[in-house]
Amino acid sequence: MTDHIETDVVIIGAGPVGLFAVFELGLLDIKCHLIDILPKIGGQCAELYPEKPIYDIPGFPMVTGQGLVDNLMAQIEPFHPTFHLNEMVESLESIGTPEAPRFRVKTSENDTTFVCKAVIIAAGGGSFQPKKPPIDNIEAYEGTGVFYAVRRMEMFRNKKVLIVGGGDSALDWTVNLQPIAKRLTLLHRRDAFRAAPHTVEKMRSLVAAGEMDLHLGQVRALKGDAPVLEGAVIRKDDGSEFTVDCDVMLPFFGLTMKLGPIADWGLNLHENLIPVDTEKFETNVPGIFAIGDINTYPGKLKLILSGFHEGALAAQKVHRYVYPEKKLLFQYTTSSTSLQKKLGVAA
């Protein structure tokens, strides 16, 4: 077997609930690694609403999404968790027994393998993935004529490129790919862009100089014998349609969340959520826990505070798997010298 990382717990998802689980596990001397598909820590709080105020975190009359993440990071700092960002868990395989669970967890991007005693799924709505526009048969062109990200710019040299969208990704790639593309067309639904102003200006000057095209409208259909893309049918707001010739189309419609590979791990699912018990928040597979927005149970509320509670209770059961011989003594951080030592605050 190749190199792998041996740890107590792998937490899938580095959102607020996954982060607080690190704290609860840390107090019980349980080490963990966190894996997240995003390039940054904080999940939806950091990706969807970093600046939005949250009013229902106990003890915080108001905190922003990013503020909460920053505070959680400070809170778990004593436990030195290891983060693996930009990675998606591809497979989760049970290699132990129900009494002594062990798991092999593999990620896609760097092909990292973890071996651990428990897995906590704190994946919220699933993994963030590029939004795919609802266009008939678009899948048939993916990887040949349709791309949701640019991995190598060279792939687009001398190609007729259609970029769709009005945000930073769309505008950045417009100005970056325009010099090497045979012809670049930008399509957006309206003549307003929520990208960096200088990039928008640059795009407008390229259009004014006749070096690229800008159209307003929506893609209605794709043309060409799949997987070879030849063009896109565009509908304008007035209902008229025309075709843009293109070899590749790059839709940049932001991110959405998909359950992804979690569906293939042998877990019971109920409408894309993972049923758990309300004592340990364990799934149907002993040793695999689900906390936060991704789980479901009678009375479930999708609140961050519920996820914190779930993490604390799951940690108790995880302790039994990680230290089967040790009896767990319930302690408070206010009074326990041993907990305070772990937090680095003992007198």
């Binding site: 609802p134 266009i135 678009i138 969208g165 309206r190 893609v219």
Partner: protein
């Protein structure tokens, strides 16, 4: 009291009792129709995208810049709105919306 009419993605029309002060997204979700509402109504995800029947468009508050920004991330029609940004009031009794298609 009043209702909204929601056509789902299979073309079936549902009449749902509405509650004053609720977001149309919340009414649709509460009745169990397939609307994602991923961000919970914060105008941050566009997964509650609907098409509003033309007759009702003018009765709604126009979209904010924030809503327009989110509409940029889906394939829109001229009558596209985010249902989390429509707060139901008795003026909207009988509102007709259609759930927009979602990508794969």
């Amino acid at each position: 009291m009043g209702v909204i009419h929601v056509t789902d993605r299979t073309g079936q029309r549902h009449t749902l009792e509405a509650i004053e002060g609720w977001r149309v997204m919340e009414i649709i979700r509460d009745w169990g129709l397939p609307i994602e509402g991923l961000c919970g109504g914060a105008c941050e995800c566009a997964t509650c995208h609907v098409f509003v029947d033309e007759a009702w468009l003018d009765k709604l508050y126009p979209p904010t810049d924030e809503e327009e920004d989110q509409l940029d991330t889906v394939v829109t029609e001229p009558n596209s709105r985010l249902s989390c940004q429509i707060i139901w009031t008795p003026d909207l009794d009988g509102l007709e919306v259609t759930l927009a298609p979602t990508g794969a």
